[in-house]
């Protein structure tokens, strides 16, 4: 049966993200992600099902059925899915995939190879527990492993962020000086399976197609002479030339991450958001821990305390200078996280070392699926008499 392609108008990223009128919808994070894909002019989506990612990719499959996505299939596993999406991206088409916890870990070798191959792709991560004993509950420990892969990593707070960051992710990923995969993470279930208000432009609009001949590496296009060349050098010789080339190659990945900062400012409004700037007690958080922290800040205000909140939108590149500036007045910082490792706490300590005298508390943290009640955040902020710790 032939699919009747929907009529969508190509508009600039700026128009789609900032100018086009938006309508509100009360939808889940999975629905928000698929609504972003609907407007992203995606050529191919490949994934392997895993909870809590499955619903999003099932919905993307439906978009394929409706003609919004040009190709779609379920791979044999995550290694297959992520390898195939890498190959697809090398041919110059717009690609996306998604996974969660153990699925991400299974495909991590391939994920870590994407940046070195300079493949633009958007990778949606619906975080969940990765470690034994097996659980499907929310926990974002897998992001700890993502931080060193060379991928750009955004951490969405809510359904609205998931929609906006996903669309912006395609645009940033495909900038010539960036040409890197962008992972957009969200905390599973809390966002993917819960509803929230999302403002979206009309689905009659979509991003321009990928302009693959204006990227940092040649596409695999056997019809065009400059491209009839091996793209990735097999640098596997045991000599200094090989080592040096590989070292320079790795440096270039991190340089490309740095270059994405300009575009993150443009399309995400910056790498952080600051509530109550200049406060002496500050919460630094990412993902859905930000939402819990917002409520804690509100409750603290009712108690007569002004608490600062810094939302970290981009984990890679990490907002080093921004955090140093935003924490200038801080005397005590707490870092609520949904994982046992405390990766954001560790990143913050490394960032503020020698740049702040603030005490950085080692928590609060919940994991294994436990929710983070605002009372827990308040306990880390105030002692039993109601004074700031």
């Amino acid at each position: 049966m032939e699919i009747v392609k929907p009529q969508q108008t190509v508009v600039t990223p700026e128009h789609l993200l900032f100018e086009a009128p938006r309508k509100r919808a009360y939808i889940t994070g999975s629905e928000a992600a698929s609504e972003a894909i609907k407007r992203a002019n995606v050529d191919i989506a490949i994934a392997y099902p895993i909870t809590p990612q499955s619903e999003t990719m099932q919905r993307v499959g439906d978009l394929f059925g409706q003609g919004y996505v040009r190709d779609y299939y379920r791979a044999e596993d995550e290694v297959g899915a992520f390898s195939a999406i890498s190959g697809a991206s090398r041919t110059g088409v717009r690609c996306m995939t998604a996974s969660s916890g153990p699925g991400l870990m299974r495909g991590l070798e391939v994920i870590a190879s994407w940046p070195g191959h300079r493949v633009p792709v958007v990778f949606l991560i619906m975080c969940r527990v990765i470690n034994a004993p097996l659980s499907i509950q929310p926990d974002n420990l897998e992001l700890d492993y993502m931080l060193s892969t060379g991928n750009i990593v955004f951490h969405a707070e809510n359904q609205q962020d998931f929609f906006d960051y996903t669309l912006a992710g395609f645009v940033i990923s495909e900038k010539c000086e960036v040409t890197l995969p962008v992972a957009v993470a969200v905390d599973g279930f809390f966002v993917t399976h819960a509803r929230g208000w999302v403002e979206m432009p009309s689905s009659d609009l979509k991003l321009p197609p990928r302009d693959c001949y204006r990227e940092a590496v040649p596409m695999i296009d056997n019809e065009n002479p400059p491209i009839r060349i091996a793209r990735d050098a097999p640098i596997q010789k045991s000599n200094f030339i090989s080592y040096q080339m590989h070292a320079s190659w790795q440096q270039e990945i991190h340089a490309a991450q740095e270059r994405s900062r300009r575009w993150i400012y443009k399309y995400l409004g910056g790498l952080i958001e600051v509530v109550n700037p200049g406060a002496e007690t500050v919460i630094v958080a990412s993902g859905s821990a930000v939402s819990q922290s917002r409520e804690a800040v509100r409750q603290a205000e009712e108690m007569g305390h002004r608490i600062g909140l810094i939302k970290v939108k981009s984990l890679r590149p990490f907002p080093v200078e921004e955090l140093r500036e935003a924490c200038k007045s801080a005397k005590r910082i707490i870092v609520p996280e949904f994982n046992c490792a405390g990766w954001l706490n560790r990143e913050l300590r490394a960032t503020l070392y020698n740049h702040s005298d603030a005490e950085i508390a080692p928590g609060p943290r919940v994991f294994g699926g436990i929710t983070m009640p605002t009372e827990l955040i308040l306990q880390w902020l105030f002692d039993k008499t109601g004074n700031c710790r």
């Binding site: 000086e177 990227e215 080339m245 320079s248 270039e252 340089a255 740095e258 270059r259």
Partner: protein, 235 residues
């Protein structure tokens, strides 16, 4: 103080004030990526000289001066200008030849593709991103121009050149430019190549004596001469 010992001063809204300077090397074993030291790319209408954002015109003039006053100037054309793969490429290639003809003693050594060449490169025939310093060192190149090279491969090449040679690197980039070269022009179409050619002409007309004033025109390497001779003999 080594370049590598200098630190970034700050980062505001994607614009950075950095103290690191991108200077001719040899800088050492593994120089940092300039972007990681706070050097940001120029915008349209701007250029980058040794890590500092300058006006496009200033950048062009500095490029012209370096090309005329350093030893063994060499143009490295990449795949994007070596093959007529889309409209406009031959026009750009002609502009590059016009530029070359204005630089006394200049050589043209192509980077035809990015595959590593083992076991031995012919440094008079090609430059290769896996070991660009071999071509630079063999030919004693102290100023060069990269044009038509995909940005990823240009960037890894530029760092290796800065690590091990004293070559002044210039990039005429069709896209966003290169922090790791000593002078870089972004969004460089034929108009900007022509502007550089005119800047070279203007400097010479103004009395600047080129380093290779006595060897006008494009110079062939020994390997290129051999090829040219072979072609003439019908081989």
């Amino acid at each position: 103080m080594l370049n590598t010992e200098k630190q970034s001063l700050g980062d505001k809204n994607g614009k950075t004030v950095a103290s690191y300077r991108v200077l001719p090397g040899p800088e050492g074993l593994l120089p940092p990526a300039a972007a990681c030291c706070g050097i940001t790319l120029p915008l349209e209408g701007e250029g980058l000289v040794e890590g500092i954002i300058r006006s496009e015109q200033d950048t062009i003039e500095e490029m012209a001066r370096q090309l005329l006053t350093r030893r063994n100037p060499t143009i490295f054309p990449g795949p994007l200008v070596l093959w007529a793969w889309k409209d406009g490429v031959t026009v750009k290639a002609d502009c590059i030849m016009e530029l070359a003809n204005e630089i006394p003693g200049v050589r043209i050594i192509p980077m035809p593709d990015y595959r590593p060449i083992y076991p031995k490169i012919d440094p008079e025939a090609v430059i290769n991103p896996c070991h660009p310093n071999l071509t630079i060192a063999h030919n004693k190149i102290e100023v060069c121009v990269f044009i038509g090279v995909h940005c990823h491969f240009a960037n890894i090449t530029l760092k290796m050149i800065r690590a091990g040679t004293n070559c002044y690197t210039i990039t005429l980039c069709n896209e966003a430019g290169h922090e790791d070269s000593m002078a870089s022009l972004p969004f460089c179409g034929t108009d900007k190549v022509e502007a550089l050619t005119n800047a070279v002409r203007k400097l010479k007309a103004g009395g600047l004596r080129p380093y290779h004033a006595d060897t006008p025109g494009i110079q062939l390497t020994v390997a290129q001469k051999a090829v040219a001779a072979g072609l003439k003999n019908g081989n």
